[in-house]
């Protein structure tokens, strides 16, 4: 296991959001996290990154990380692409990518050139302010920026939200490529078609806890879970 999460509880002020979330991530897998809006998927991502008040045990590559500040968690090799696509709008596309580089990155890892080769559109706009990119381009940029740090595990929160179908396909292909290069992926995704097609395993969250765990095929067979916890 690359990541083990045990009995995670999280709060915003007094509201108790996560109530005993436990799951594992295996090396190299794409784990999809499904569930309706507001059940706590983003909060789970934030909790893993040390960005919300929480209790519980989080172990990454055998080391406890639940007491570390966010930047140290990132330096250990967990990358995060949050749901609100935070490009640095006044920095250029290239500068955004540079912001993701980490000194302890691997030699064989991702580089800005990879980003430009994979997405010529980003190369064209390398010198322009990232805030002027379209939503889809910003999404690709945010993902590439996080990849510059060569994380061993990447958490990607709703990357296809609000994107046109062509962009959704690009994001999907990029996630497959990330996994192919050996990085484990936790993917929070609303679109069942995308999630079921690329995930190796699926978690379904109900109100602040995990209500289903299995393969995409298992989930396909469980109409009750889909009806109660996913479909609207």
């Amino acid at each position: 296991m690359i990541l083990e999460v045990k009995d995670l509880n999280a709060w915003y002020g007094k509201s108790h959001i996560l109530r005993g979330v436990s799951f594992n991530v295996k090396p190299g897998e794409i784990l999809a996290m499904l569930g309706r809006n507001g059940v706590g998927r983003s909060t789970t991502v934030k909790a893993l990154m040390g960005d919300v008040e929480k209790t519980g045990e989080i172990t990454f590559e055998g080391n406890r990380i639940d007491n570390l500040p966010t930047h140290e968690i990132a330096r250990l090799g967990i990358g995060c692409v949050p749901e609100d696509r935070q490009v640095f709008p006044t920095l250029t596309v290239h500068q955004n990518l540079i912001m993701g580089l980490q000194s302890q990155g691997r030699d064989d890892g991702w580089t800005p050139d990879d980003a430009f080769q994979l997405f010529p559109r980003l190369a064209e706009r390398a010198g322009t302010e990232a805030g002027s990119l379209s939503g889809g381009e910003q999404q690709l940029l945010t993902m590439m920026r996080t990849l510059m740090g060569n994380p061993k595990l990447i958490l990607i929160d709703e990357p296809t939200e609000g994107l046109a179908p062509r962009m959704v396909a690009q994001v999907k292909d990029l996630i497959l490529e990330i996994a192919r290069r050996g990085t484990s992926v936790v993917l929070v995704e609303q679109k069942l078609t995308v999630a079921l097609k690329i995930a190796n395993r699926v978690l379904v969250m109900g109100h602040g806890s995990i209500v289903f765990e299995g393969t995409p095929a298992d989930l396909a067979a469980r109409e009750d879970v889909r009806r109660d916890y996913i479909e609207v």
């Binding site: 930047h71 990132a74 949050p82 935070q86 912001m99 740090g149």
Partner: protein, 315 residues
């Protein structure tokens, strides 16, 4: 004309020194989201520490060491004070910086007394390099302007041309995302606070030696710095720069071209009745109004353009 150039030079030197202060307030505002009311106190600390060190090492030692010491003090204030207070919200932060300003003032009075200390530039810098219309232009004004410009250019190069600068820019606006990319944001914040305080300390050494070093100097300058930051637009370094020069020039010219309001009115074609009901009003002189000008500018700006010169949002 020569006189005009002299005032221009004086105004720019004063404006640039003001910018040393307002740049720090601006950076710290971007970071914390509140105005640091203790900032002018770091200016005062710079003056007093500069004075104290200059007793041992001469002026130049104070010029180098005092800003560094104020920077360290500023860093410690962030690390061990503000960072904890921050968790309790903006009001707590604001009160903290208020308290700090009073604390520093009391400490300064305790150590150096209530009256001004004798802190002046060395003779070398006080010699006039030229004289216009019977007014000397001392060398230290040139040195002040040069040091301020250098500090500003270094800050700008650091912010715009280095990776550290990128991290600072990002941390100021997107702290959480920046941390998620592995950057030590708390450390960045402490450094920004330290650098901002150090610049205020530098301004203090220059301002203290040029004007007067006394316990009221923080209280006197503080409001003007806030006026500048608001006129420039909260959080905008460029705006703070423009506003600093504007206020510096405005005040210098008002004091320099000392005319009464009556004379001014006449010169634009009005004919005030110097013995009528408003005689007192017309006899007020520009230099008497000079201290008010920044506040008048502030009020005008808030009415006409609440976001300031280069601010991104209205107040």
């Amino acid at each position: 004309m020569a006189l005009f150039l002299l005032f221009l030079a004086n105004g720019l030197a004063y404006g640039l020194t003001l910018f040393l202060l307002s740049s720090g307030v601006t950076l710290i505002f971007s970071m914390m989201g509140v105005l640091n009311f203790a900032h002018a106190s770091f200016y005062m600390l710079g003056a007093y520490l500069g004075f104290q060190i200059s007793q041992v090492t001469g002026f130049w030692g104070g010029l180098v060491l005092a800003p560094l010491m104020v920077g360290v003090i500023g860093g410690a204030v962030e690390r061990y004070g503000l960072r904890r207070v921050h968790a309790h919200g903006h009001v707590a932060e604001l009160l903290y910086t208020f308290g700090l300003a009073f604390l520093i003032e009391e400490i300064v009075q305790l150590i150096w007394g209530r009256s001004a200390v004798n802190y002046v530039f060395p003779d070398l810098l006080r010699t006039p390099i030229f004289a216009i219309a019977g007014l000397d232009y001392p060398a230290f004004r040139v040195v002040m302007a040069a040091i301020s410009v250098m500090a500003f250019l270094m800050l700008l190069l650091l912010l715009l041309r280095t990776r550290v600068g990128l991290v600072v820019q990002s941390a100021l606006t997107h702290a959480r995302m920046t941390a998620m990319l592995g950057h030590n944001v708390p450390m960045v914040f402490m450094s920004v606070f330290a650098v901002g305080s150090g610049l205020a300390g530098l301004a203090g050494v220059l301002g203290g030696a040029a004007l007067v070093t006394e316990p009221m100097m923080a209280q006197q300058l503080g409001p003007i710095v806030f006026v500048i930051v608001v006129i420039g637009g909260l959080g905008s370094l460029f705006g703070a720069f423009v506003a600093s020069l504007a206020v510096g020039l405005l005040q210098t010219f008002a004091v320099g071209f000392d005319r009464s309001l009556g004379q001014l009115a006449s010169s634009v074609g009005l004919a005030p009745d110097a013995s009528g009901n408003f005689a007192e009003l017309w006899s007020i002189s520009l230099s008497q109004i000079a201290p008010l000008l920044p506040y008048m500018l502030l009020i005008l700006m808030l009415v006409v353009r609440p976001r300031g010169i280069a601010g991104k949002r209205d107040l």
